[in-house]
Amino acid sequence: MVGKVFAVVVVLVTLVTAYSVITHVWWMPVDISVHGPKIDHQIEETILVAGLLFIAGQVVLATFVFLYGGAKNKPKQIPGGAKPLVLFAFILVGTEVLALSFIGSKAWGAVYFEAPDPASMKIDVQAGQFAYYFRYPGPDGTFGKLHPELINEGNQNYFGLDTDNDADAKDDIVTAELAIPVNKPILLTLHSKDVGHSFYVRELRVQQDFVPGLNLPIHFTATQTGRFEIVCTQLCGLGHYNMKAYLSVLSQADFDEWLKKQAAMQ
């Protein structure tokens, strides 16, 4: 009796789970990056492979428990013993695993192994407890030098720019919101001023940590305009849950307009 109940419960759980995954009850948001579809495809691929194992595993478990619960006949071993099981594990799971790692490496390579487009737009991103700030190089196209000792957030000098003496820094445009032109390759340089943070935009399928002491590049191209959230996914302190910024993907014209406005506000 207990065995039959157990079997039923396990099958029910399996069905509910499978249903909510297949029908995307909770799912990834629309994909707005060029590399994103590769990652989505990889996730679908994995759901297929892993999902089959999941259902198979639970169902076989349930069946055996259902059939042999409280049986009194003389126990017997499965024909062939352990050899076929081990072979199955090695061959089937092995090939699945290999397939995943090879297809997966394609998706991963598309994001990380390809060098950024030389024409891509460079933006400097700084994370700190608990906000992101973004820096555009301005007309001269070069970023000013950073002087940590000059950082004074109360006076809006988030990056520690020496605007009095550093010509490159004078025209740098510092913003609290990341605006980018649509369909243009973007190259972000991530650096943190204090602890570890992370740059996570679900729609871009991009997640990259900020590591203090390192400048980490991440590049992508957005394919749709709109306003999306950048959130921190690396525990950074009491304001972690509230550390975010907005990414607005604009048409080239709107972007130029926006940048002009930001420049005026410096």
Partner: protein, 588 residues
């Protein structure tokens, strides 16, 4: 030599007085029970913390009465501040990972059962054994002490990533004395685990009674033996990691703190440190740690299974044991999969991804062995067996999540979402807890000479089993929606719509937690009022069932034991003790 034997016997004479008997006892059985008691206490503390967190997540303005008393500063009027949420989260992780999951299935049951199972009178180094328990306890006290200091416990999570954990209170409340106490607590736990592992290995190798060849070891002993090796190597790396962190905090060194770190517009006097070094050292321990937690669970399940399916496991002791050895070995070369998005070279990500995926093969073999051993079995559904079956279902589910997190490409979307939380609660969290329950219901008669109540046990099982799926499967789902973990409130536009499902999780979690009180009641009540247990209530074959319940001080009352069989001599209702000279009936 004569005098050493005499000496050894002398300090093995049964101790007199309650202190030497029950508190500072060198008896492995008492120490095992002490470990289990500590684990149960910690488990309920950790559970209470998770309740507080879940309630706060679902109803951010709810006032949690006890919290206001626990910390008027961290939870004014019982509504927890973000930093106090993180404090509770850190302590939940620390207490559960170290003082429950590492303690109960390994140190707890291992201490109680391993020496008996190999036919020894005690551990190889009984006083060392006592030392390791009390060092663990000291660590527990240090961890608990963080609740008493004004700033409260640290807020940097159980992984304590530097530099958040290294720069002191500049990084936030709890990062001052709280974090320092935390480091000391973890250091104590490392030392204790190293001593314990040493004891387990030597006992298994040197104290086996006549005929107890390695091929006849019970499968639980095998798992504890393998596990001891893994923790011996892993904790030996966490210890220096903690020492270096302490040096950065107290000695002003810069191992983990880079130059130009700015807190509150002030530049710290540090330079040249590397946060990644911390992550490498930590995860070199941290990943084996999850196998340190799950291997004893494997062992307990593999040990209990044959007793309740009344037949040997498919492939005998070899296949399952070699699978465990493979898992233990591979666990040391996969740590980088925790660092896919942490700025490690993307090529390294591939290097770590492949072994991570391949570690599923031995795990799958173990699962197949258990599942297909059910074929043609006479399954007896006593509570221990139910928990083994529950373990199987949970472990399969949890393992599946691994496929997503083992690949850098998919992990780059799911990393740090609640998918991860769901995944590790299934694989190492609740799988291990279910195995622990299995072991507890299984060995309870041997520990206290009384049976636990079956009905309560079964109610406890069903509530726990369904509850676990309600809470943690849902976390996988919200993970797909990108719900970020370690958030004390959901203020992001895309997280707000998920709050209703958060409420469901919270309710499920409260029920799941409440179910554990049934277990607590059952254990305490049965301890004193339960029916007297026979020596071998489950008709099992291993040595712990070959002595009285509870066993005498020297386990076998000075009997000469000789082992003739492996541990899995079952054939339906027939079974042959390892020590009985009758012919084998299952050919092990």
């Amino acid at each position: 030599m004569a005098e050493t034997t005499a000496h050894a016997v002398a300090h093995h004479a049964p101790p007199q007085g309650p202190i030497r008997k029950y508190v500072f006892s060198t008896d492995h059985k008492v120490i095992g029970i002490q470990y289990l008691t500590l684990a149960i206490l910690s488990a309920f503390i950790g559970m209470a913390l998770s309740w507080a967190m879940r309630i706060h997540l679902a109803w951010p303005n709810a006032s949690i009465p006890l919290l206001a008393w626990l910390s008027p500063n961290g939870a004014p009027n019982g509504v927890m501040t973000p930093e106090y949420y993180l404090s509770l989260m850190t302590m939940h992780g620390t207490i559960m990972a170290f003082f429950v999951l590492t303690t109960a299935p390994f140190a707890g049951f291992g201490n109680f059962a391993l020496p008996i199972q190999v036919g020894a009178a005690d551990m190889a180094f009984p006083r060392l054994n006592m030392a390791s328990f009390w060092t663990t306890f000291l660590g527990f006290l240090l961890a608990a002490a963080t609740f008493a200091i004004p700033d409260g416990p640290p807020i940097s999570g159980w992984t304590a990533y530097a530099p958040l954990s290294a720069v002191g209170s500049a990084a936030g409340p709890g990062q001052g004395w709280g974090q320092t106490l935390w480091v000391l607590a973890v250091a104590c736990f490392c030392v204790a685990s190293l001593l314990g592992a040493l004891n387990f290995i030597v006992t298994t190798l040197d104290l086996r009674t006549k005929g107890m060849t390695l091929s006849r070891l019970p499968l639980s002993t095998w798992a504890w033996f393998i596990d001891a090796w893994v923790s011996l190597l892993a904790f030996a790396v966490l210890l220096p990691c903690g020492l270096l962190l302490a040096l950065d905090r107290l000695g002003g060194t810069s191992f983990f703190i880079p130059g130009g770190s700015v807190f509150n517009d002030k530049v710290l006097p540090h330079s040249g440190g590397s946060p990644l070094l911390f992550q490498h050292l930590f995860w070199f321990f941290g990943h084996p740690e999850v196998y340190i937690i799950i291997l004893p669970a494997f062992g307990i399940v593999a040990h209990i299974f044959p007793t309740f399916i009344r037949k040997p496991l498919v492939g005998g002791w070899k296949v399952i044991t070699f699978a465990e050895i493979a898992v233990g070995t591979l666990s040391f070369i996969v740590w980088g999969h925790h660092m896919f998005v942490s700025g490690m070279s993307p090529y390294m990500a591939m290097v770590f991804s492949v072994p991570t995926l391949f570690i599923t093969i031995p795990s799958v073999i173990a699962v197949l062995i258990w599942v297909f051993s059910l074929y043609g079995a006479n399954i007896r559904f006593d509570t221990p067996m139910l928990y083994c079956l529950g373990f199987l279902s949970l472990f399969i589910t949890g393992g599946i999540g691994g496929f997503f997190l083992a690949q850098p490409s998919t992990d780059s979307y799911l990393h740090a979402t609640s998918f991860v939380v769901g995944h590790f609660h299934f694989t190492m969290g609740l799988s291990a807890v279910f195995a622990t329950f299995a072991g507890f219901y299984y060995w309870f008669p041997k520990m206290f000479g009384r049976m636990m109540n079956e009905t309560l046990g079964k109610i406890h099982f069903w509530l726990s089993f369904v509850g676990v799926y309600c809470v943690f499967m849902t976390m996988h789902m919200t993970g797909f929606a990108g719900a970020v973990r370690r958030y004390s409130a959901f203020v992001d536009d895309f997280m707000v719509p998920l709050i209703p499902i958060q409420k469901f999780m919270t309710v499920a979690a409260v029920v799941l937690g409440a179910a554990q009180f049934i277990f607590l009641f059952n254990a305490i009540w049965s301890r004193f009022k339960g029916p007297k247990a026979p020596d071998n209530p489950w008709e099992a074959t291993t040595l712990e069932w070959d002595t009285t319940s509870p066993p005498p001080f020297d386990n076998f009352g000075g009997r000469q034991l000789t082992v003739y069989h492996g541990p899995m001599e079952y054939d339906g209702d027939k079974s042959v003790m390892q020590t009985s000279p009758e012919p084998s009936i299952a050919g092990t």
